[in-house]
């Protein structure tokens, strides 16, 4: 399966070409190159997935395949960084997800970004992102993953700040980069601790279940926890940064400043699930050696999910609602991983998490692209500028509705199946967790339909010009993704991706399924009553719970807390004294040396008069003095 290398290299090539020619070629050519390359690698990924899932099954278990591997840096005899390609069920699945969504976004952008300044730059960055994300999922070792992890961060930064003349976009890009980079510091620390004790970076060895690998860490503790727990927690914090887990979620809503297709690709479908993928990749280590960290992940995920869902209910910017819903859904995936065990039925959570990752990528990308289509027609992100759009934009309306039904968990749409598996796994972990997650699922249905009714129903708003259905390039991805959303749920996912890579038959737990469907339907009806036609209920509720409402619409003041901590505490008590020390002690001593030298040279430069005879005179005097010294001393 050597050709998988092409999947990685083609986007890189396209990035280099598009980046070098910049605006020398017409936007049409640049867009075509980017899209065609994506089309090719999408086809290659599908072929790779087909080949992998049909061929590589030994004793009912999917073998890991490494079609390409080379040593890149050697530190010691056993510690070296390789660059390679690792194909196993989750990486193959991610290949399919990334290339599909990326391909759709590339097509969509042909319409959405047409006539934008910097169109070629945009496509170059898209290719760079696709390259980095693919590199991340097929990494054979944790360090290679880290390299691509950072590349993903950079391309996300570049794309959020695409409209670099807009101050808010620049600020959002910086915020996203700094927050995720801060989290990545912990990731790096985790990697270093882990590799120090296990003497390897290789995923194959780490997840082999061989106790010898972890023998070095046995008994080593730090502050009451084993060093492995610290390492794995550090790695999870890195993942939490990228996946916007509480309290590192603050960058994701602001990242919506980027172009909408970018939000669909990076901040909904692919990059933000990198953290989930990371935990899934190291899952055997988490479950065997540090189950307490895994439980921590479950609680962090559940809290984030609830927190984001509550905020999503009161936001008015449609992209922000979707951003918070993304955070909430990633929380679901994290919870599912956290509550999962290993093998057969125990590993249900793992399978559910990956299943949800897959379906969520499709319908969330669809939601974002739909939102983009609406924004394109209305030229506003605000919900109260919309309403009654179903008449003008039928395709967007229907596809958006399908995605909303999927995320709300209504059968037979894909979200129902994956969410149901997650809920079953949660109930098996503890009833409390199951009830919490069911409640959040209800909230999800409510806020999604609040969004839907506000955009497509409700009171019609006056527009400067009549909104119209989008261009075909934009409509096609919507239709394609909607089709996937309708049918993806029927994929026998347990057949492909499970914790121990063996076959697992998914069976619906009818109690859990029916309860969650009833709750979802009730939530949708509630949203329908409140928002389908103009009604006074939302306002009354907002005044009744004014405290909660204001707090939620200010995102529970987490940003303010961050600002307070950074500006008031970190800046004033650490940065300013350090800056003072830098300026007045370090710089000053250097400046002092320079100015002393200058002063001395100014004083003695008179000797250099250019008069030959004066030089000779001084020389003679010197000779005399030395002679006298030699003679008489």
């Amino acid at each position: 399966m050597q050709y998988t290398l092409l999947i990685l290299l083609l986007p890189l090539l396209s990035f280099i070409i598009l980046g070098l020619v910049d605006s020398k070629w017409s936007p049409k050519i640049a867009g075509t190159i980017g899209t065609v390359v994506l089309g090719i690698i999408t086809a290659l990924s599908y072929f790779a997935a087909w080949e992998y899932f049909t061929l590589h099954r030994i004793d009912g278990i999917y073998e890991k395949v490494i079609p390409f591997d080379m040593e890149w840096l050697r530190f010691t005899d056993f510690l070296h960084i390789n660059l390679g390609i690792l194909l196993d069920p989750i990486s193959v699945m991610m290949l399919v997800v990334i290339t599909t969504v990326s391909f759709m976004v590339n097509i969509y952008s042909l319409g959405y970004m047409a006539n934008e300044k910097g169109f070629e730059r945009y496509y170059a960055f898209l290719s760079l992102f696709t390259f980095s994300m693919l590199g991340l999922v097929i990494a054979t070792n944790i360090f290679q993953m880290y390299i691509f992890w950072e590349l993903v961060g950079v391309s996300s930064y570049l794309l959020i700040g695409f409209y670099y003349t807009k101050p808010s976009a620049v600020a959002a890009a910086k915020k996203a980069f700094i927050v995720t980079r801060f989290a990545d510091l912990f990731f790096l620390i985790g990697i270093l601790i882990l590799s120090f004790y296990t003497k390897t970076f290789d995923f194959g060895l780490l997840t082999s279940g061989d106790p010898k690998v972890f023998a070095g860490a046995a008994g080593a503790t730090f502050m009451g926890f084993s060093v492995l727990s610290w390492a794995m927690a550090g790695i999870f914090i890195g993942g939490a940064g990228k996946s916007a887990m509480f309290p590192l979620q603050i960058w994701l809503p602001d990242a919506m400043e980027g172009p909408t297709p970018v939000s669909a690709l990076i901040h909904a479908a692919t990059m933000v699930v990198a953290g989930v993928f990371l935990v899934a990749r190291l899952f055997p280590v988490y479950i065997t050696y540090t189950p307490e960290v895994l439980h921590g992940i479950a609680y962090v995920g559940a809290f984030t999910s609830l927190f984001a869902a509550v905020i999503a209910c009161v936001q008015t910017d449609i992209k922000r609602v979707l951003a918070f819903s993304t955070i909430s859904q990633i929380g679901f995936m994290m919870v599912a991983l956290g509550v999962s065990g290993y093998g057969e039925h125990e590993g249900l959570g793992y399978m559910a998490s990956m299943f949800h990752l897959f379906t969520h990528a499709m319908f969330k990308a669809l939601l974002f692209l739909g939102a983009g289509s609406v924004i394109h027609a209305i030229h506003s992100n605000e919900m109260n500028q919309m309403g009654g759009l179903r008449k003008y934009m039928p395709i967007t309306n229907w596809t958006f509705l399908i995605a909303c039904l999927a995320i709300a968990g209504i059968p037979p749409f894909s979200g129902f199946f994956s969410k149901d598996e997650i809920l079953s796994a949660c109930y098996e972990f503890s009833p409390f967790m199951g009830i919490t997650m069911t409640f959040i699922a209800g909230l999800t249905a409510f806020y999604m339909f609040r969004l839907y009714f506000n955009i497509f129903w409700g009171k019609e708003h006056k527009h400067e010009h009549t909104p119209h259905e989008s261009h075909f390039a934009m409509a096609f991805p919507l239709i394609f993704l909607a089709t996937v959303t309708v049918f993806a749920g029927w994929i026998p996912f347990g057949h492909f991706v499970t914790s121990d890579r063996a076959n697992y038959e998914i069976h619906l737990d009818m109690t859990v399924a029916s309860i969650s469907v009833i709750i979802a339907v009730c939530s949708i009806l509630l949203a329908m009553i409140m928002y389908r036609k103009e009604s006074a209920i939302p306002k009354k509720l907002a005044t009744a719970f004014s405290g909660l409402h204001t707090a939620a619409s200010h995102r529970f003041y987490i940003d303010e807390v961050y600002l307070f901590i950074t500006k008031e505490i970190v800046f004033n008590s650490i940065s300013r004294p350090l800056a003072w020390f830098d300026r007045h002690v370090i710089d000053a001593s250097m400046n002092g040396m320079a100015s002393t030298t200058q002063w001395v040279s100014l004083k003695i430069k008179g000797f250099q008069s250019g008069q030959v005879q004066q030089y000779a005179y001084v020389f003679l005097l010197g000779t005399l003095v030395i002679t006298l010294l030699v003679l008489f001393i």
Partner: protein
């Protein structure tokens, strides 16, 4: 006193006389080098110093190692080298004159700090 002068005049020329001559030549050279304004005069002063050194070579060879010839050869070499050096110096001076229309050493201060 009379005896001394007689000895001095009648006997072979004593070494002090040669050294005295070379000393006078050398310091005249130094004085000329330091005080003259014209590059040509400075060049002549340098030649004077070189010749003083030549005399020393010859004298010391004659009095200290009478059977040897190194000192004489050195003197001959120095004369040849002095000739070359003068040629170069004259060439430089001509160039200076072309550029500055003067050979005053005081005008050559473009290299000052």
């Amino acid at each position: 006193m009379g005896d001394l002068l007689t000895n001095f005049l009648s006997g072979p020329v004593p070494v002090e006389a040669y050294l005295g001559l070379s000393l006078i030549m050398f310091f005249s050279g130094i004085y000329g080098f330091l005080s003259r304004k014209s590059l040509l005069m400075i060049l002549i002063s340098i030649e004077l110093m070189l010749n003083a050194a030549d005399i020393n070579f010859v004298v010391f060879n004659r009095y200290l190692y009478p059977g040897h010839l190194e000192g004489f050869y050195f003197a001959l070499f120095t004369i040849a080298i002095a000739a070359c050096e003068t040629a170069v110096a004259i060439a430089i001076i001509i160039n200076i004159y072309r550029n500055l229309s003067s050979v005053e050493v005081g005008n050559l201060d473009q290299m000052k700090g």
